[in-house]
């Protein structure tokens, strides 16, 4: 056995995973190997430092506040879905009715209701997506899964800006069709705002954050 194998045996002994025979062999080796003794000493020092820092954090934690915060977030998470959907359902149809010209209100309202239904599906789907992702953790290599999830989020964010552009162009084309002139200028402004907002969010906030998260994981290990 070389020193690397003995250093691994040092770890196994520290964590109660070394048999009696291997322990005797390790002790015999440590008696004559300064490098492995230094390794064992360094491991003990590092673990003691980590244990001390954890103990300090645990000792100083305000558990009542943290527990109350977990409860509050769990409850508000469930309420937020309902609130988001109710807000869209209450705000969008009247706005569409107000903006649509006479004679096209029924069609515009129908489109708005369809958009609300789509929003509900997307919101519910996102909730389910997060739950599936958390459940998908079991049985997979944790950090590979984490990196793959971040990369998938990055791809989705980059694709999302083009989707917003395509949607806005389609909306503007429909709204500026002959016979809908009063709606045209408003629609164009709305579409431009949607695209600008989406691009600014994606490029200035979402993508840099995801890249930072990937970079913070450091080099990938096989």
């Amino acid at each position: 056995m070389d020193c690397v194998a003995f250093e691994i045996a040092v770890e196994q002994r520290r964590h109660g995973a070394l048999g009696p025979e291997e322990t005797r062999a390790l002790e015999a080796h440590l008696a004559g190997c300064e490098r492995c003794r230094a390794y064992a000493g360094e491991a003990a020092r590092a673990d003691a430092a980590l244990a001390a820092s954890a103990e300090a954090a645990v000792g100083g934690a305000d558990w009542a506040r943290l527990e109350a915060s977990v409860r509050r977030q769990v409850r508000s998470g469930a309420r937020r879905v309902v609130f988001d959907l109710a807000t869209v359902a209450v705000a969008v149809p009247p706005a569409v009715l107000g903006l649509a010209p006479e004679g096209r209100r029924a069609g515009a309202l129908g489109a708005a209701l369809l958009a609300c239904a789509a929003a509900a599906l997307v919101r519910g789907g996102y909730h389910g997506f997060l739950a599936r992702r958390a459940r998908g953790l079991a049985g997979q290599e944790l950090l590979a899964f984490h990196r793959a999830a971040l990369r998938a989020d990055l791809r989705r964010a980059l694709a999302g800006r083009w989707l917003a552009l395509a949607g806005a162009l389609g909306f503007a084309a429909w709204a500026m069709a002959p016979g809908v002139a009063p709606l045209g200028r408003v629609a164009l402004a709305e579409a431009s705002l949607l695209v600008a907002g989406t691009w600014i969010y994606v490029l200035a906030v979402r993508v840099p954050r995801l890249r930072r998260q990937l970079a913070s994981l450091g080099e990938e290990r096989g």
Binding site: E11, S53, A131, L137, Q213, S216, G218
Partner: protein, 183 residues
């Protein structure tokens, strides 16, 4: 404050059954899990984020994720293993969201029995050195330092073979010593 005893497999199974009732029962299950696992999870979150406030945020996010995902959990692993995995990811995400310029300062509070100044200084230096290591090494070092986790459980949490856990721990020690300027 005394730590509640860790939950055994039978207690976890009972909690899962209650969680499947949904609503307030699921919320109570999450709170019980919080009480049963909060101390070691907070320690690991601190090691992975390097910052006490971030560690507390990560701990809360982990239990929020657990609440969201509990209905879909089918017992593919021990509930505690699954919770550890969620917490590790939450800590990595919180750390990743931090701006690069933000300094790593664990702001270690004085625990009830204050350790010697040298020990606290050493803890700060080790956390700062860990912050420069790749995630695989930070995670394996902090899990092995966590109270009550055996190497088999750590392998399950990481989703790797037991042999990989030992070699990864050895490599992490070597790199940590280099980051501390001791090798």
């Amino acid at each position: 404050m005394a730590r509640p005893p860790p939950l055994d497999a039978a207690a976890e199974e009972a909690l899962l059954l209650r969680a499947r009732q949904g609503g307030r029962a699921r919320e109570e299950v999450v709170v019980e899990l919080f009480r049963g696992h909060r101390a070691p999870l907070l320690g690991v979150c601190l090691h992975l984020t390097g910052d006490r406030a971030d560690a507390e945020d990560a701990l809360q996010e982990a239990f929020l994720s657990a609440h969201r995902a509990l209905p879909a959990f089918r017992g593919e692993a021990r509930l505690s293993t699954w919770l550890w995995r969620i917490a590790v990811r939450a800590a990595l995400e919180v750390r990743g969201r931090r701006r690069p310029a933000a300094p790593v300062d664990p702001e270690l509070p004085a625990p009830p029995a204050e350790p010697p100044l040298l020990a606290r200084d050493e803890a700060r230096r080790v956390l700062a050195a860990m912050d420069r290591l790749p995630a695989e090494h930070r995670v394996v070092l902090s899990l092995f330092a966590a109270e009550g986790l055996r190497h088999r459980e750590i392998a399950e949490i990481l989703g790797v073979a037991e042999g990989t856990v030992w070699s990864r721990l050895h490599e992490a020690r070597r790199r940590l010593a280099a980051a501390l300027g001791r090798r």
